[in-house]
Point group: none
């Protein structure tokens, strides 16, 4: 089943918005066994959308469009689909009723502009949007499934997972042929080249499978791929390569596929009945934000302090003035006192302290931009590391968060 993705909107076309939707969709589609043939990003003009649908239809049996479903004049997708399928717009009483409920809950009225979002092509299936006012649409047209989704990422994702994935799954089960299947192992705390050396020459262990190294600021992902018609063969090969990786570099592997390191940490802490508090200077909330992305994090995350100033380090986390004076705010010693201090203040099992020079200013010869000190304290024990990252503020902060999580994870293994 070949699928084409069409992203509609000048904001993507002129580069004002990075097209994360296409990557997300492509990943979900690949996971369920679809073959993504092409992503196209086009302007929000009826002419370009029409000609693009016309072209990709010749090689794809599913087209998923994102964007252009909102309530303003530049939202053209619904009109184009209606005219492309020689259909007409009708008022969906079901969706109109939903809009009235939606607005009532928010203390607002349904305006004419809102109500227009319940106008849908008569032959379209409505794909309910649980968190927005524009529904998704699915239209079977001359052997091709046309799907239109909102461009807002979370709305698109909800509709995709709740409605489109099950719909495509049904169709896939009815078709046959070779399919690619993937498995991704997630590592933390090891560099890409070190990992490659540990695994050895790919031709010695890959066989018919493929292996991709995908580095990010929080670790390297290893994607194993295998294409074959028989699912048993695919799985056998994936597991064989997986076993090789675990044997050679298993101590760096924290999870697989879509897990996050924060989730793995949270699960471990919850299972052990332990808790965490954090003191963040240069990352100032980024680690806390990441940890509390995890649903149910209140069971193990007690909170923390964004100690952006030295005053806060001393007043809120009992860092000693003498340590600050002797070692400077960016030092392993201060990181340790931050970790101990926040652990004491919050009475948590673990405490994390992060202090560094994110840049672009604040660097010195001894502590250039990219110097970050991180400590993890637990009863009677404190591990700490001084890192030297690069000279990009964004990257330094992201890598600090990744390194802090990797340090805690190693203690929890």
């Amino acid at each position: 089943m070949r699928v084409a993705l069409i992203s509609i909107g000048d904001e993507v076309l002129i580069g004002q918005v990075v097209n994360r939707n296409a990557a997300w969709l492509a990943e979900e589609l690949t996971l369920i066994g679809c073959s993504v043939a092409e992503h196209v990003t086009i302007s929000d003009t009826a002419e370009q959308l029409t000609s693009t649908i016309d072209r990709v239809r010749t090689s794809c049996s599913v087209i998923i469009m994102t964007g252009g479903l909102g309530p303003t004049h530049d939202d053209i997708t619904k009109d184009v689909l209606t005219s492309y399928t020689s259909d007409r717009l009708v008022m969906s009483e079901q969706w109109l009723a939903h809009l009235h409920d939606w607005m009532r809950e928010r203390g607002r009225e349904v305006t004419e502009r809102n109500a227009a979002q319940a106008l849908v092509p008569s032959r379209a299936t409505i794909l309910p949007n649980p968190i927005g006012t524009a529904p998704g649409l699915a239209i079977d047209h001359a052997g091709c499934l046309l799907v239109a989704l909102p461009g807002v990422p979370t709305e698109m994702q909800h509709i995709m997972l709740d409605h489109v994935v099950p719909m495509l799954g049904d169709r896939l089960r009815e078709s046959a042929g070779a399919r690619a299947q993937y498995m991704t192992l997630l590592t933390a705390g090891v560099a890409e080249s070190t990992l490659a050396d540990m695994l050895g020459d790919p031709s010695d262990f890959l066989g018919n499978a493929t292996l991709a190294f995908l580095p990010s600021y929080h670790g390297v992902r290893l994607r194993i791929g295998m294409r074959h018609a028989d699912e048993a063969v695919r799985l056998q090969e994936l597991w064989r390569v997986r076993d090789h990786i675990l044997q050679k570099a298993g101590k760096y592997v924290y999870g697989s596929d879509k897990q996050t390191l924060a989730e793995v940490i949270g699960t471990r802490l919850r299972e052990r009945g332990e808790t965490l508090a954090i003191a963040e200077s240069c990352t100032s909330g980024m680690l806390g934000a990441r940890l509390t992305d995890v649903v149910g994090s209140s069971a193990w995350f007690l909170g923390g302090v964004m100690c952006y100033s030295n005053e806060s380090k001393v007043r809120d986390l009992s860092v000693r003035e003498a340590t600050l004076a002797a070692q400077g705010a960016v030092s392993v010693e201060v990181a340790k006192e931050l970790a101990e201090g926040v652990r004491t203040r919050f009475a948590s099992t673990y405490g994390i302290g992060i202090t560094g020079v994110a840049g672009p200013g604040g660097g010195s010869v001894e502590k250039p931009v990219g110097t970050v000190c991180i400590a993890v304290a637990v009863s009677g024990h404190c591990v700490s590391t001084r890192f030297q990252f690069g000279n990009d503020r964004y990257v330094n902060r992201e890598r600090s968060v990744g390194a802090a999580m990797a340090m805690l994870w190693r203690l929890l293994k």
Copy 2:
């Protein structure tokens, strides 16, 4: 000058890598006055690349390809271009010498695989890559400029800025004709549909300009566009539409183009010599992370507390047990005490308190998931609002951050 972007590579196609290259290229091209017509992402097969070049050539005079220039078997771009232009590969002595220098500096030898990177189509112009081994290539072919760049973002960016942008600039100056120019106004604290109603019917004020509504969780961006050969005409129209928007909805406009609300807030605070501290419960660090994205934020951001537990609210921020018992942790009263409490603890000019039910759990009939209370305290004054967002944890947290910044910004105007 219409430009098409072709991204080559399965890692982009299956969604394992987000296509930031396309956004970066599109933005640079738009800035210099090119019109980006389309982005296409395709697999690394000769057939798909050939047919895509063939198709986009009919409507674009420049095609910029990224990826597929490396030294391994799946790097097909050079061979496809050679065959597409009926050319042959020749050894570039100049690039080979560069490779020898490059490897010598790194204590390595030029292998056969490396040397193959100096094989280029005989009619191609070499675009030197200052930080990698694969050069970019530019080929004039039958009225179309074909440009091939490496997929590694930093290498691509260097070659683009050093060589391709000047090359296109020369051609743009020689050509006459209409160009698009854009201006983006940034709003906070107002819904897309409300904004559209305030501005009125676009046909009444747009003239030949265009207007796009770009909603995000932190506000709606209004992008005005104007296409004309004469820069004075373009600017006049952009400013005319800008003035209309400011007249109708100016109180919601906080900035323009690439500014962020956090930057605008930081600039105001710094100018006024004022400071900020924050108490985050349901967002637990997200607002702090956003504010400290801003370079130099230590001049005005003092820090804060991630008060994820009730104990922390009481112990660290002096929220009264009686208020928690009577009103519950998610209440306007607790938000106010958080804002006042963090302002007192950090001795800052402003204090922000955020408390809410992010979901998916924790909701009740009176306070369903999506209920978020936010307060901003300043000497002798505290503004507060209870919001009812939706049922998605991620969205509720993002919208809370946006709403808190919008509330502070209004006080700073």
